[in-house]
């Protein structure tokens, strides 16, 4: 029971990341009709926003170490600590959550520039060409990151206060043995909030309503005199922000390296396809579902029966879904059907 509960949490956690990436992916597909293979790279860039901010905050100066009296000792101290003392230390400690503030404008800018400069020219071209050009872009972005940050994973710490584990078992009466890292709980909460925000933006604002109308029938919306293209550009930027934030918050869970994006891209594409191309609720549902399935299949009890199942479960599900229900779980009729 404990193990199952923990696996569900694990799955929801992983699923949160999948869902956030898949959400942006399917949003872009639904609005612009573009298959974006560079979306994983955007997630990766988001993660590296956190790395960059941490690097900036911990810019250091050599200060004389006063505690050593026998000889002149120097130690590296971040400027922030020199200037602000304990407040500075606290700021550095909170660098990952603070990165969100940095990531939002940066990711928005990257998304909008990407759409205006490149993706725009590919609306009318075939899906194969869209895949190819964004695949090239993904390689370029990944290699740029690699040349600036190196090839090794760069671990990021969660703030001190949430670095430990929460004793969830005690809250819900499962006993003391069920503990779970705080940060992962926060990540789950965070992804739920972001998903909620995206949905309420699309459903409860006029802007979102127009975007949804554009998704359903672009030509008519344009005939009504609305500049739908500009809104779709914003939507692309929004998708980039969502993926970027997912990346920022994921850094304490998984130290980012340059091929993080490619690793997640394949999985989140599978998520989108399982959920149904262009369907937002489908992407979220499939994200969490596949996350849970994956963490269940990595339990030793399951692995004893089907060895290696944890490695292939997601792809297996995708194959079965595509063959039996090509529209995906919640796909709209007529989208990319053949």
């Amino acid at each position: 029971m404990d193990a199952i509960f923990l696996q569900i949490l694990n799955g929801l956690d992983k699923g949160g990341a999948y869902a956030l990436i898949a959400l942006g992916l399917t949003l872009v597909f639904g609005t612009l009709g573009v298959v974006n293979f560079a979306h994983g790279a955007i997630f990766m860039i988001g993660a590296f926003c956190a790395v960059t901010l941490e690097k900036i905050l911990t810019l250091s100066v050599r200060v004389k170490d006063e505690s050593v009296t026998f000889f002149d000792a120097y130690k590296e101290t971040p400027y922030l600590e020199v200037w602000f003392g304990d407040t500075g230390t606290a700021i550095i400690d909170w660098s990952v959550p603070l990165s969100i503030i940095l990531a939002i404008p940066v990711m928005l800018a990257i998304g909008v520039i990407m759409e205006r400069a490149l993706i725009r020219h590919f609306y009318k071209r075939s899906h194969a060409e869209q895949i190819l050009v964004t695949f090239g872009l993904a390689i370029v972005l990944q290699e740029l990151i690699k040349s600036f940050f190196g090839a090794n994973p760069i671990p990021q710490g969660a703030p001190e206060i949430v670095a430990g584990s929460a004793n969830i078992g005690a809250w819900i009466g499962l006993g003391e043995s069920v503990v779970y890292p705080w940060w992962r709980l926060i990540y789950l909460l965070f992804s739920t909030i972001i998903i909620g925000l995206v949905f309420s933006f699309l459903h409860f604002t006029t802007y979102g309503m127009v975007v949804r109308a554009g998704m359903a029938d672009r030509a008519t919306v344009e005939l009504l005199g609305i500049n739908i293209e500009r809104r779709f550009t914003i939507v692309f930027g929004m998708a980039a922000v969502v993926a970027g934030l997912a990346g920022v918050m994921y850094t304490p869970v998984l130290p980012p390296d340059y091929h993080l994006g490619m690793d997640f891209l394949v999985l989140s594409f599978v998520v989108v396809v399982v959920g149904g191309m262009g369907s937002l609720p489908g992407a979220v549902l499939a994200g969490f579902l596949l996350g849970i399935l994956q963490s269940f299949s990595s339990m030793t009890e399951v692995k004893d029966i089907f060895p290696g199942i944890d490695q292939i479960i997601i792809y297996l599900v995708a194959v079965v879904i595509l063959l039996t229900r090509p529209r995906g779980l919640m796909g709209r009729r007529g989208v990319m059907e053949s």
Binding site: V133, I139, E143, S147, V270, Q311, M336
Partner: protein
């Protein structure tokens, strides 16, 4: 692109002769480019074969597979197992590799070809990733996991032992009835196989079967309306391209008898896509050109390092030289993939037909220049370029 025109057998013969001469004399004419060493030329040949095979599927039918590395990997593993169990002879290794990867392609193709477009891409990608993950984890007894499958002194090599060939102190090298699989002789083995592969591809390209494949690319629905069941044709194309990939994989194992799972990763599938697109998908020699260009520049660019760059820009003033060198340093050495990605993007954006389209365009430009220069104002023929 004169695909639709009737080509006389004589012209094909000329093609084959020219290609054979060009390929077989590579060690001579590549000398001035500094690429005439066997390892690199073998790579040209191997990736040429891989790309030709990929072109049978993607170039002719337009089905974008992102999982061809799986077949390459299967070919490599099979070849190494054949070396270990049967004989160091290349021939059985290649036969088994082609057969097994063909079988593998049959399985994957049977499932994947039920869908088209992006779904097909994702399905092939999913299968390739599955194979990759399994090769790393559960299949370790067969694939030797992360270390990679390699030859050892104590391998069975049943046929070799029967023929009385005992391994000496050093590890045996793959050979074709005594012809070594490495060095110049190895290059010629690969070169002959490339020429044979190309010949088969040429026959497919010119046949009615090839025409049907291209018809599928141009409009699958209409193809169905005319009464063709397209799936068997697609299936055949898929299996053929899988077998080509298996052959390439076995040759990789010949040049270096070590098979690792990273050959099956989806970025490896991406590479063959890059090669094919860069050269020109759906053209005859485009994939060969692409393989040559990419492998050549990979070799050149990877060899650059900061010191070489500093020397290259030493004619500039010091500060400028450093700046230029550090910017250029992004694109060479380890940054070779960055250059590759950029070039690939530019090709897809501006020249979707690849290098071959570039050549055709240039040729047309030159010809129109010369005709107008002669004052020869012929009515311009509307170009019957097929899509």
């Amino acid at each position: 692109m004169s695909n639709t025109q009737i080509v006389s057998p004589k012209q094909d013969l000329i093609y084959m002769v020219v290609l054979s001469v060009v390929v077989l004399t590579m060690p001579i004419w590549l000398q001035p480019f500094g690429a005439a060493y066997p390892d690199l030329m073998q790579k040209f040949m191997i990736f040429g074969i891989f790309a030709i095979g990929y072109n049978v599927l993607f170039g002719l039918t337009g089905y974008l597979s992102f999982g061809h590395a799986a077949f390459l990997g299967v070919g490599s593993y099979t070849a190494v197992w054949s070396f270990k169990l049967l004989s160091m002879n290349v021939l059985p290794a290649m036969i088994f590799a082609v057969a097994l990867s063909g079988l593998f392609a049959l399985l994957i193709g049977y499932v994947s070809l039920r869908r088209s477009g992006i779904y097909f891409s994702i399905l092939t990608l999913a299968f390739a990733q599955m194979s990759y993950n399994l090769a790393y984890s559960v299949l370790t007894p067969i694939t030797n996991g992360e270390t990679g499958l390699q030859l050892t002194q104590g391998d069975a090599r049943v046929l070799d032992r029967m023929a009385g060939i005992e391994a000496s102190a050093a590890l045996p090298t793959p050979n074709l009835f005594g012809i070594e699989g490495i060095g110049y002789s190895g290059f010629y083995i690969c070169a002959v196989l490339l020429i044979i592969s190309f010949f088969i591809y040429l026959r497919i390209f010119r046949s009615a079967f090839g025409l049907k494949l291209r018809a599928i690319k141009s409009n699958q629905n209409r193809m169905g309306y005319t009464g063709y069941n397209t799936r068997p044709y697609l299936m055949t194309a898929f299996v053929i391209s899988g077998m080509y990939a298996g052959l390439a994989g076995s040759l990789l194992a010949v040049t270096d008898p070590l098979a690792g799972a990273e050959r099956m990763q989806w970025t490896a599938s991406g590479e063959v896509v890059l090669i094919t697109i860069l050269g020109g998908a759906g053209t005859l020699i485009g994939p060969l050109l692409g393989a040559g260009i990419i492998k050549y520049f990979e070799n050149i660019f990877s060899a650059f390092n900061d010191q070489v760059l500093q020397n290259a820009f030493s004619f500039l003033p010091d500060w400028l030289g450093h700046a230029v060198a550090s910017v250029a340093g992004l694109f060479v050495g380890d940054g070779w993939h960055l250059t590759l990605g950029l070039v690939f993007m530019l090709i897809v954006i501006f020249l979707p037909g690849g290098v071959m389209e570039g050549i055709t365009r240039l040729w047309r430009l030159v010809r129109s220049r010369t005709t107008s220069f002669d004052g020869n104002k012929k009515e311009q023929q509307p170009s019957t370029r097929e899509v």
